[in-house]
């Protein structure tokens, strides 16, 4: 029982981390129809920035600065790498995202010299707490609540505010909303800013829990979060979050059996099964063919 609780706990912890990244994926996809492959790497860079910044200044200054720098990075990436390609084929934009992901990973390798960096300990978040006989960190407990709060906040933002309305309009029909006088570029920038901010927060929780950062540290969470977003139906925020938790828990259940080799494979198998029966994911909108 104690063991099962611990597995579930890890599952929820991991799922929560994936959820924070998956929201960024799904929001960008909803608006631009772009799989932002660089998102996982933005997450990694946020971690690295945290490492370097915290050596120069106290944590209470460093963490907000990490947030600001990550948001700036997300904003710049969008302006430099995606905006000029707005009228290009979709494939080109995606390739640009892959290119940015390459650039971030390679730059991180260059800067760190390929050595794993260790994340600073954040007071409280990295303290240990025992739940049902299983020791765990506060970051683990906190993540799911934070995710839920964020989901509520974001859905409010999207449903109630003007920016949110613009986002919905752009997601529905790019051209028409442009004709209606919506400033597409600011809406897209807002989306990237929100996504990057979430990635920065996610990186603080994630690397507090798993404190060693390598240049590829963002690749796996990024891919998993992407799978979670597809799983829940790309474009749907609650879908992405639910997908992330399901994937996190399933993965850890497999890790607790003797088929540990397949812990990644099972994620994908699950995804394929879902897609075969529900081709646009759990909560995805059904796409209609336009002739």
């Amino acid at each position: 029982m104690e063991y099962f609780v611990s597995v579930l706990l890890s599952g929820i912890a991991v799922g929560g981390q994936y959820a924070l990244i998956a929201i960024g994926y799904t929001m960008v996809y909803g608006i631009l129809r772009l799989i932002n492959f660089a998102h996982g790497d933005v997450f990694m860079v946020a971690g690295l920035v945290g490492v370097y910044v915290s050596t120069w200044m106290p944590l209470y200054l460093a963490l907000p600065l990490v947030l600001v720098l990550t948001v700036a990075l997300g904003f710049i990436i969008e302006r430099v790498a995606y905006k000029p390609l707005r009228s290009a084929p979709r494939m080109s934009v995606m390739i640009s995202a892959i290119g940015v992901s390459y650039l971030l990973q390679n730059t991180a390798t260059y800067v760190t010299g390929g050595q794993p960096m260790s994340y600073p300990t954040i007071p409280f978040l990295s303290d240990t707490v025992t739940i049902a006989g299983t020791p765990t960190r506060w970051a683990v407990i906190l993540t799911p609540f934070l995710v839920l709060a964020l989901v509520v906040l974001l859905t409010q933002l999207i449903d109630r505010t003007k920016v949110g309305m613009a986002m919905r309009a752009v997601a529905k029909d790019f051209e028409t909303s442009q004709l209606m006088g919506i400033k597409i570029n600011s809406v897209i920038s807002a989306t990237f800013i929100i996504g990057s901010a979430l990635a920065a927060i996610g990186s603080m929780l994630y690397f507090t829990n798993y404190p060693s950062i390598t240049p590829t540290a963002g690749a796996m969470p990024g891919l998993k979060a992407f799978v979670a977003a597809v799983f829940g139906g790309i474009g749907s925020i609650p879908g992405a979050v639910i997908g992330a938790f399901i994937i996190g828990i399933c993965e850890n259940l497999v890790k607790s059996t003797q088929f540990t080799v397949f812990s990644d494979a099972i994620t994908f198998a699950l995804l394929i099964v879902i897609l075969v029966f529900k081709p646009t994911g759990l909560f995805g909108e059904k796409a209609t063919d336009k002739v």
Binding site: Y3, S6, V7, L9, S10, G11, A13, V14, T109, G113, G114, Q115, P116, S118, T128, T134, P135, T136, R137, N209, Y210, P211, S212, T214, P215, T216, A217, A219, M220, P221, N252, K255, S256, Q258, T260, V261, S263, D264
Partner: protein
């Protein structure tokens, strides 16, 4: 449309021309010394290839191993070959810790005209790079690649370290002797021949001694190990065997400390690293590793290399920010001298002559006596086992010997 296409082509052409220009400039710089074997000042130069990872999973270990060679090179920068003094130049190629980048990195060393190759840290890249050295008629000296397949069935790869069957057995015996372990939990990276090979030998030896083994493997780039560690706890493991690369090892140790795992951790030579040591610092984790060298084995070497690390900022960074000596550094140091011995014995910088001479080379290094058997493996029967004091240092636990 037309114009744009033209510009595109022109730019592509310009790109390739400029890149070619860049390459030719570098290769002329390189060939000036390699082709004639002499540089402007008239000194003869012999090139030794350093085939080590400086990016990827094994970067940290590869850099420490390279550090040993660089220190040895700084200590002895020349060698007498056939009555003439040659300056030794180390030529580096990053194999990226990955078996698909290794062949082209190996080809890079070959194209630079090296006389022989040292490395690599990590067995997979050594096996992948080997055929390229073979095609070029070069010999390679493996420094800490412990997988049997590096040297098995070929005449071009030699190595100065012990092998996995030996290391696995040593650790299994140690688990039995020291902890009277009944159940061992083995955790390795999926699809990594180093991890899985060691686990297989450990399992063989441990089960032969009447123990039970539970194995698990984690996917590449995994960072959440809590489920594995809880599983080990749940299975009642007395020891946890984790022959994984450094980045994973630090994660595992840190998470084990947070989870309060009591079982002792056994690690292979890769865990003998000051980053792992730093992860264990200030925790209650029991960490034991088998390795090639223990600080204090050669005080003269220890002092020299520490001074070298402290003087050189880059060396300090490569060593992970402090001057704890990794065993791989000692091995890299020995490997350099083995290479010099081979060059002396060959009496020439010709790769074929060096390769022929290498089999007969013997050398007394800081990590012990080095001689090769007919497979090209070092004849070694001793491994050091040391444990982390959790105050940032290693302490020698025991020396284990197994009749091979």
């Amino acid at each position: 449309m037309k114009m744009k296409r033209f510009v595109a082509l022109a730019a592509a052409a310009a790109m390739s021309v400029s890149a070619l220009a860049g390459c030719s400039s570098s290769s002329t710089a390189a060939s000036g010394s390699a082709a004639a074997g002499s540089s402007a000042s008239g000194d003869k130069v012999v090139k030794i290839g350093v085939f080590e990872p400086s990016t990827g999973d094994s970067a940290s270990g590869g850099k420490k191993e390279t550090l040993g060679m660089q220190y040895a090179n700084a200590e002895t920068p020349t060698v007498e070959i056939g009555g003439e003094t040659y300056t030794v130049e180390l030529v580096y190629a990053d194999n990226g810790s990955s078996t698909d980048k290794a062949p082209s990195a190996a080809a890079e060393l070959v194209s630079q005209g090296v006389s022989l190759v040292l490395g690599s840290y990590g067995s997979g890249v050594s096996i992948a790079g080997g055929p390229v050295f073979d095609d070029a008629g070069l010999a390679a000296v493996g420094v800490t690649c412990t997988n049997p397949n590096v040297t098995a069935g070929n005449d071009y790869y030699y190595r100065i370290c012990f092998l996995d069957p030996f290391q696995g057995t040593v650790l299994a015996n140690f688990a039995k002797d020291k902890f009277d372990a009944k159940v061992a939990y083995c955790l390795g990276e999926t699809g990594n021949e180093y991890d899985q090979g060691l686990i297989a030998y450990f399992t063989q030896a441990f089960e032969a001694a009447g123990g039970t083994v539970v194995t698990a493997s984690f996917p590449t780039n995994n960072s959440d190990f809590s489920t594995y560690l809880n599983q080990a706890k749940n299975e009642g493991a007395d020891v946890i065997f984790t022959p994984v690369s450094i980045a994973y090892a630090t994660q595992i140790i840190q998470q084990a400390a947070a989870l309060g795992i009591d079982a002792a951790f056994l690690g292979s030579d890769t865990l003998d690293d000051n980053m792992v040591l730093a992860a264990a610092e200030g925790t209650d984790v029991q960490l034991y590793v088998s390795t090639f060298y223990q600080e204090g084995g050669s005080p003269e070497f220890d002092e020299g290399v520490k001074a070298y690390i402290n003087e050189n900022a880059e060396a300090m960074t490569n060593n992970g920010g402090n001057d704890t000596i990794a065993a791989v550094t000692a091995m890299g140091y020995d490997a350099y001298y083995v290479a010099l011995e081979a060059l002396k014995a060959a009496g020439s910088t010709d790769p074929a002559a060096v390769k022929a001479a290498l089999a007969g080379v013997t050398y007394d290094g800081v990590s012990g006596h080095i001689a090769f058997d007919e497979e090209g493996d070092a004849i070694r029967d001793t491994a050091y086992i040391k444990h982390s004091t959790n105050t940032g240092a290693w302490e020698l636990e025991t020396q284990q010997t197994v009749a091979q």
